[in-house]
Symmetry: C2
Subunit: 138 residues, 2 copies
């Protein structure tokens, strides 16, 4: 997290960055060939994963992945997280059917966060709400 120390960076404004296909050419190989493992997992072996609905752009939830759950996500094209409370892998929707089909995965400039665009089956939140972010402060 040092983006703030370089906040005077280049100013190439590109509003369509996420809309363009900048995928590295071999995403699964990326894991196998140690291209992606440069991701920074925290001291608990976790990385934050923001889940966004690919169609509406709604931010649905945030959860955490360890390397194994990321590998499963890449392989199965459905989100799999690491449950910090249960300390186990958690395939999203395995009991509810509310699976998230993965459309694309991005990582941030610090390599310590993921943005996962999905097709959400049913709803994302365990409360029955479409998004976990259904309460507003401001």
């Amino acid at each position: 997290m040092n983006r703030e120390m370089k906040d005077e960076g280049r100013r190439t404004k590109d509003k369509n960055i996420q809309g363009r296909d900048r995928a590295c050419p071999c995403p699964l190989k990326g894991m196998k060939n140690n291209r992606v493992p440069s991701l920074k997992f925290d001291e608990k072996g976790l990385i934050a994963a923001i889940v966004q609905d690919s169609k509406s752009g709604d931010v649905l939830m945030i959860a955490y992945m360890n390397k194994e759950s990321l590998e499963i996500t890449l392989k199965e094209k459905r989100t799999c997280f690491y449950s910090r409370s249960r300390q186990t892998l958690w395939r999203k929707g395995e009991s509810s059917g509310h699976v998230q089909k993965v459309k694309s995965i991005y990582y941030d400039c610090d390599k310590d966060a993921l943005l996962i665009k999905v097709k959400q089956e049913g709803v994302a939140c365990h409360t029955g709400e479409w998004s976990c972010f259904y309460r507003r402060i401001l």
Copy 2:
């Protein structure tokens, strides 16, 4: 983080939840009146804050807030984070001019994450990219 344990929750699908105005009526009072402090800050006193461009829906970045930086954000209507690396408050754009004007703030079902919708001045990423999530794995 126990949403996964209740994944069989109600199924009131509401795709427009973030589009509707479900703001609590007094956001700033919310902080003052101890309505919002039920938010769950982690053992370091931090909460994850996802920043989304209010117009395009692009997820711009993720950063962390402590209670003080959240209060400043609510008061100034510009994002202020806590820099984990520098261990200090960090007003986004204070040196670059790339401020984020806050349009709305949501919190998630677990009360341990924020979604902040902003009008981004310039670009969000210190690299000069519009979004910090400019690299793709899948």
